[in-house]
Symmetry: C2
Subunit: 416 residues, 2 copies
């Protein structure tokens, strides 16, 4: 099946917002095995929208329209789609009730008259509930074509897509598609690809696609089969093989879990308290850990020791070490981690010191040189990294490397 996307919104044409919805929907369509050849953005203009929708219907089996389902007069996606498909708009009593409830629960007060417009749907359409807003999703099947209307706000569209649209599209296909994710840290993309080149080559069901992220590689396995159980059965031996090849580098096989969540989870399970000491990353590493809800259970404190004086005064790095080896050195990183544990009595510490640039580099110590020390229950290790890119990229790379090294440190404690 072929699919195409039409995003409706003048704010996209003015560049006020970035079209992240298109990226999300495209990735999902690829995952579903649908062929997507066009994405189009048009404004809230009925003539241009009509022309765009007619063109799309002429060349694709499925057309997904996003945005323009709001309660205002500018929102005309539904009206235009109904016109193109020759459908009358009728009120959907269930949606009227849901909108009433939506306002009641939130005690927003009286419902503006124009909100009732959102209860109108093309006659015969499949109505999809919106758990996070008033505009419903709408699916229209007509003459072998499928038109899907989705609300524009990502907070409404994404949960709706996961819950109802993905399964709907999946069952429209001759075979069902199921995918699983394997997330890897501590191995670069090209190395990871080399390690499984034979699998990527020889496997056609499931297929394996690699996605490079900063400091991580994500592998998506996608299998086609008559039902979900059969698809999962096809993937099982491949996932087992990936686990053999990548071992402890796999930090999760759950689509939603992030590296920082996996690390906080490990700290919690092992009841390890953590202190951070950051220099070049200046709080970014800790800030990322604190993104994880409940991080406070294991992360008690952190130090940002940007100056040499702070490194000495706050966590006891030796003056001589700084003088002889410099702030960006293996020895300083080690003393930062040791000092953090000594000062706070926590079970583990992560210390990061490096040159994020663009200034401050020398021939011996170029921009991008970063030392990370991790101490977990008395086991101290330090690694040297040479990152590339601009200041922001180097700092982000250092944060991910520190998460990876901390994870390795914890895993080693468990083993022995």
């Amino acid at each position: 099946m072929t699919v195409e996307l039409i995003s409706v919104g003048t704010e996209l044409l003015l560049g006020n917002i970035v079209n992240t919805n298109a990226a999300f929907l495209s990735e999902k369509c690829a995952q579903l095995g649908l062929s997507l050849y066009y994405q189009t953005v048009v404004g809230d203009n009925p003539e241009r929208l009509e022309e765009t929708l007619r063109t799309a219907l002429g060349r694709s089996d499925v057309v997904i329209l996003g945005g323009g389902l709001g309660p205002t007069q500018d929102d005309l996606t539904k009206e235009t789609a109904a016109k193109v498909l020759g459908k009358e708009l009728v009120e959907d009593p269930h949606t009227r009730e849901r909108i009433q409830e939506f306002f009641d629960v939130r005690s927003i007060g009286e419902i503006p008259d124009n909100n009732w417009k959102q209860a109108l749907v093309p006659k015969g359409a499949i109505v999809v509930d919106n758990d996070n807003g008033t505009a419903p999703g709408i699916i229209i099947e007509e003459n072998g074509k499928i038109v899907i209307l989705l609300p524009g706000p990502p907070g409404e569209m994404i949960p709706m897509f996961h819950k109802d649209i993905f399964p709907y599209l999946n069952q429209k296909q001759p075979e069902i598609i199921v995918s699983e994710m394997v997330k890897i840290c501590g191995i670069g993309e090209s190395k990871a690809e080399t390690m499984i080149a034979d699998l990527i080559q020889s496997q056609s069901n499931p297929t394996i696609a690699t996605y490079a992220k900063v400091g991580e590689v994500h592998l998506r396995l996608t299998a086609k089969a008559q039902d979900e159980a059969a698809a999962r059965k096809l993937m099982k031996p491949v996932i087992r093989e990936l686990k053999v090849r990548f071992g402890g580098h796999i930090y999760t096989t759950d689509e939603q879990t992030t590296l920082e969540e996996a690390v906080v989870q490990l700290l919690k399970e092992q009841q390890i308290s953590l202190t951070t000491v950051e220099s070049c990353t200046g709080g970014l590493f800790t800030g990322r850990l604190v993104n994880v809800q409940g991080a406070s259970e294991v992360l008690k404190q952190g130090f940002i020791t940007y100056s040499n004086k702070a490194k000495r005064k706050l966590i006891g790095v030796k003056k001589l070490t700084l003088k002889e080896f410099g702030a960006v050195s293996e020895k300083t990183a080690k003393e930062m981690a040791k000092g953090a544990i000594l000062t706070t009595g926590s079970d583990a510490a992560v210390a990061i010191t490096g040159i994020a640039g663009p200034d401050g580099g020398t021939k011996e110590k170029p921009v991008g040189l970063v030392y990370i020390a991790v101490s977990v229950k008395g086991n101290l290790r330090v690694e040297e990294y040479r990152f590339t890119g601009n200041r922001a990229k180097i700092r982000e790379s250092a944060v991910v490397a520190a998460l990876t090294l901390l994870r390795t440190g914890i895993l080693e404690t468990i083993k022995f």
Copy 2:
């Protein structure tokens, strides 16, 4: 003049990358006063690209194509554009030289044969140098239409657009367009709009457009005139009036300057050293300051005091204060700031404590409640905030509020 965008790249259709180029180019076109009605994304497929380009040329004066100018066989944007416009491809000696130089400077070694493909340009085209890559930009004028080809990587496209494409498009218009930016912090969008509703209404040259950012409002003034001097002259009295109305809330009138840059600049100018103490933001505030190159001159250290114990041990918040008022309270925020100054001897401190959620809220202290204390040269102030949104949004709002409050604190020191 009407303009439309065509982004070429299979990675966009697969959802591997987000189309930030489209947002950038759309904003610039709006700034130039060009009417943009369509954005299209197609893959590296010559037939579909040809069809898309022909459609675009049929309805728009200017077509900007991005991507597909690389050295590989998949990159066919230039070849397709040349075909549609009936132009022969010929080698541009200047570009050949520039590519040679690009490789020489970077000591990349021998130039792969297929790179020379990038020196071919449609006969009669305007060639635009790429300062950050090998593929040149190309402008073709034909039958009253303009086709512009730009490289896909934002790091190449954006500098090229600023330097050459923006001025080119600007001089193609009957009147030149010049815009200026006024950036405001500490006032919400609706209040800011109310404060200048009369100006927005009455002004048509320059126009004033407002853009809401987290904790900030940006005002873009755009004037049309025969030349730049005349346009700036039109804007001058309006900017003066905006300065009267918003006063110290304006932190910059420079397009590129961020709030954190303005704050670090102020700290540097006033030679004020800073210590940060973060609880719910967990390093994000300091991480954002450290984004600014050279922040180390004024930011010497920071504490992340996530636990009560850390608040007591590291910066001396009183046990009784925590017990009686709680960690999220005006009094604790004050003691955090005072303690930071006492511990480190710095001139200024920022302390942030709050409930980022989703757990931890109570009726008296709901999720989103944040206290920020700022001490600058002995002047201590504390503010209470009630932010809305999810955990990430609340933390981001707190970071921007802290930047704003710190800025206010420094400005007051200068006045008295």
